[in-house]
């Protein structure tokens, strides 16, 4: 890195600030994700023919909806960089390209948190008899969000720069996200149980999610640069 180059943290903050400003002005990801999730809940209400959910069914509906909503944002994550030359700009700038990865992952994480701020109360209102399990579920959801954000920020540029953008992203991400989905569903299943939240192996699931998150953060850090050079 050049002597006068800005620190990586400053670059991350700048890109993240840019992305959040764009999102606030155009509102193209988060509102769509909220609308999408609410509609999916309504579809599940009829698809499953249930008005109350608990246990594994509640966990599945909640988490699968978040996963699909995340895919919406992931598909869009790098589109502006491709169409408006963001990839070239970061290559030309005397900064660490990996900053783009961390900034995009952070932006995606914030989108997901914003989505859940709206989607969790809706889910509670629609389906849950008792919201007691939601509070201990928050750390699980947070770690799942990190998993979605990190893998999304790593796979999305590959999909965006391919000929089949909307296809490649979900195709690779869905199998890649099965392990965190397993851990999060197992935790949510027990926390949303009909008989009240159970903390059976709660820490195992949190540790599994944490391990997955840190592994993919490291992988992203190691390989992201190769997605930028041309």
């Amino acid at each position: 890195m050049k002597r006068n180059a800005p620190s990586t943290l400053a670059v991350i903050a700048t890109i993240l600030g840019k992305d959040l400003r764009v999102e606030l002005r155009t509102l193209q990801s988060v509102p769509a994700m909220v609308l999408f999730s609410t509609t999916i809940y309504v579809i599940f209400r009829f698809g499953l023919d249930r008005t109350r959910l608990e246990g594994s069914l509640a966990a599945g509906v909640l988490l699968v909806t978040i996963l699909f909503a995340a895919l919406l944002a992931i598909n869009r994550l790098f589109v502006a960089e491709r169409e408006q030359g963001g990839f070239e700009a970061i290559r030309l700038a005397p900064v660490d390209g990996t900053a783009l990865f961390f900034a995009k992952a952070a932006a995606l994480l914030i989108y997901l948190l914003a989505l859940e701020l709206a989607a969790l109360p809706v889910f509670w209102l629609f389906f849950l008899a008792d919201g007691g399990g939601l509070l201990p579920l928050l750390p699980v959801l947070f770690l799942l969000n990190v998993a979605l954000a990190v893998t999304g920020a790593l796979i999305s540029p590959m999909a965006t720069n391919s000929n089949a953008r909307d296809l490649i992203g979900p195709l690779i991400l869905l199998p890649l996200l099965i392990p965190p989905m397993i851990a999060a569903s197992a935790a949510a299943d027990r926390l949303l149980a009909e008989s009240g939240p159970s903390y059976d192996r709660y820490w195992t699931w949190l540790a599994t999610l944490g391990l997955y998150d840190s592994m993919f953060l490291l992988i992203g850090w190691a390989v992201f640069d190769f997605l930028l050079e041309d």
């Binding site: 590959m158 391919s162 690779i172 890649l176 059976d200 992988i219 190691a222 390989v223 997605l227």
Partner: protein, 247 residues
């Protein structure tokens, strides 16, 4: 090349696999619980082990490709993963046959190793659409390598997560591959494993040789077709020696 020739390897593979199957049918004892059908174990498990190791080898070649930028490593990574995906199909088919024979159903969800393998297989199946969706050769190779590295790291994590989800509900009853395997079965298993491993290796070598040869052939053909008029013949000197030997 200092490695053994394809012919030697092919003979060795045929001998190993022949010996392995002979041992399976005439030497290894029938398993007391499952009887004859358990013998599919000698095909299914080595295939699965070799396929998984092949995925890891593909990841290692991918790392080398990213570090050196040499397309040879990308070709090795691609062929390793490709061969392992084919072996993966065989693993899932033999697994289904075994499941049908011992549990009466073609697919069971309570065998974590098989479920993990299915997930890994699904992930690696997306390697092809990814490659084919990127027209630029060099970028395709780079993205494919990033994928191979990511997926290689994913394999152990995935096995861990699936195992964690199952262990509470279902204690592992299906312990054929674990300790307590009689020595006769061990020997048979190891010979079969060696046979399948050398089959994987020779298929990779064949595919790489075929790729190299067809690349050479098209280079020669281009040189012959577009061979410039005698005055400028010196331009094609890099490929000239090959052209004279075929001519």
């Amino acid at each position: 090349m200092k490695t053994p020739s394809l012919r030697t390897l092919a003979i060795a593979t045929a001998v190993l696999i022949g010996a392995g199957f002979a041992l399976v049918f005439f030497y290894a004892p029938n398993e007391t619980d499952q009887g004859f059908i358990q013998k599919i174990f000698y095909l299914h498990v080595p295939l699965a082990i070799v396929a998984l190791i092949g995925f890891v080898i593909g990841g290692i070649h991918a790392v080398r490709h990213l570090r050196s930028g040499d397309p040879v490593h990308d070709a090795r990574s691609y062929v390793s993963i490709h061969t392992s995906v084919i072996f993966g199909v065989a693993v899932l088919i033999t697994g289904a046959i075994w499941a049908k024979a011992s549990w009466g159903r073609w697919w069971v969800w309570d065998e974590p190793t098989l479920v993990s393998f299915l997930i890994v297989f699904l992930l690696y199946s997306t390697y092809y659409p990814l490659r084919y969706a990127i027209p630029d050769r060099e970028r395709q190779a780079r993205y494919a390598s990033v994928f191979a590295v990511t997926a290689g790291a994913f394999v152990p994590l995935n096995f861990m997560a699936v195992r964690a989800a199952e262990s509470l509900v279902h204690p592992r009853t299906f312990a054929t591959a674990e300790g307590g395997l009689p020595p006769k079965m061990w020997l048979t298993f190891l010979v079969c494993l060696a046979g399948i491993a050398s089959l994987w290796y020779i298929l990779v070598r064949f595919e790489l040789t075929a790729k190299r040869t067809s690349a050479q052939l098209s280079r020669l053909r281009r040189a012959l077709d577009g061979s410039p008029p005698p005055a400028a013949a010196g331009v094609g000197s890099r490929i000239a020696p090959g052209a004279t030997t075929t001519g």
